[in-house]
């Protein structure tokens, strides 16, 4: 069952590398966060520490929300500055 969480995390990494837009990058980050949360919860259940795993899972989900919101703000900023969403030629967010 841990394999499910591991595969989700792997898919997130694939998405982060494969996608060329900022929104695709954020989708990959969200996939990785979901994989990490699943990993903690399933590992906690399998090893008999379900309460601690649930608390860590809660922190990961809410911390991930903060990370995604900050990334979303950067994506909006990128569009205001460059009028596009691609990341290939992105080096700086200065004007």
């Amino acid at each position: 069952m841990i394999a499910v969480a591991a595969l989700l995390g792997g898919l997130g990494l694939v998405c982060i590398i494969y996608r060329k837009t900022f929104l695709g990058f954020l989708i990959g980050v969200q996939l990785m966060i979901t994989g990490a949360t699943s990993f903690f919860i399933l590992a906690g259940i399998a090893s008999g520490t379900a309460v601690s795993a649930d608390i860590f899972g809660l922190f990961i989900i809410l911390g991930g929300v903060g990370q995604i919101v900050a990334g979303y703000a950067l994506a909006v900023r990128l569009f205001y500055l460059r009028k596009k969403v691609g990341m290939n030629d992105l080096r700086t967010l200065k004007q």
Binding site: M1, I2, A3, V4, A5, A6, L7, L8, G9, G10, L11, G12, L13, V14, C15, I17, Y18, R19, K20, T21, L23, G24, L26, I27, L31, T34, T37, S38, F39, I41, L42, A43, I45, A46, S47, G48, T49, A50, V51, D54, I55, G57, L58, F59, I61, L62, G64, V65, G66, V69, A70, A73, L74, A75, V76, R77, K84, V85, G86, Q95
Partner: protein, 172 residues
């Protein structure tokens, strides 16, 4: 049974969210991933996390759809050669497979982790969660400082995101 059904749905939607070209469909499949992950948590006895995961996934999917609609550009046109495209596809897949393999083998080394029935979902009765009340009590009694730091971080993120995402106003 429900665990494996949710797992298959989650992984299938994850593959679609990773590779599908249309960004709106990718966001939709990301939402399916969140729903499936919530189902996994529910079948594992973590009801509170399942509900939180469903709410967070839905709100994120809605905000991503807003982004796609507002800023219009759904995908980046790629005019590179097929061989280059193939390499750019194979390399991420290899990296992802490597990460998944490392995580899976690392999980087997965790203390108290059963190595024989690693494919089965068995909640140990000694530490199974008796209810949300236990979780809340443990959260407030043992992890209060972490909770406060998380709350402060989310507050700073909300204020900071508003500052970062504001449109540039040039002085007259």
């Amino acid at each position: 049974m429900i665990f494996w059904l949710c797992s298959i749905i989650t992984l299938g939607a994850g593959v679609a969210a990773t590779f599908i070209a249309d960004m709106r469909l990718a966001v939709f499949f990301l939402w399916i991933v969140g729903m499936g992950a919530g189902g996994i948590y529910l079948s594992a006895g973590a009801e509170l996390l399942a509900v939180i995961q469903w709410i967070v996934s839905t709100l994120l999917a809605i905000s991503f759809i807003y982004y796609s609609v507002m800023f219009g550009e759904y995908k980046v046109s790629d005019s590179s050669k097929i061989s280059r495209k193939l390499i750019l596809l194979i390399l991420p897949v290899l990296a992802g497979a490597g990460l998944a393999t490392v995580l899976w083998f690392a999980a087997r080394q965790l203390p108290d982790m059963p190595t024989t029935d690693i494919f089965s979902l068995t909640v140990r009765a000694s530490d199974s969660i008796k209810g949300v009340a236990d979780l809340g009590k443990s959260l407030v009694q043992d992890h209060l400082l972490s909770l406060e730091i998380l709350a402060l971080t989310l507050f700073v993120v909300v204020i900071g995101s508003g500052v970062v995402a504001r449109p540039e106003v040039k002085d007259e």
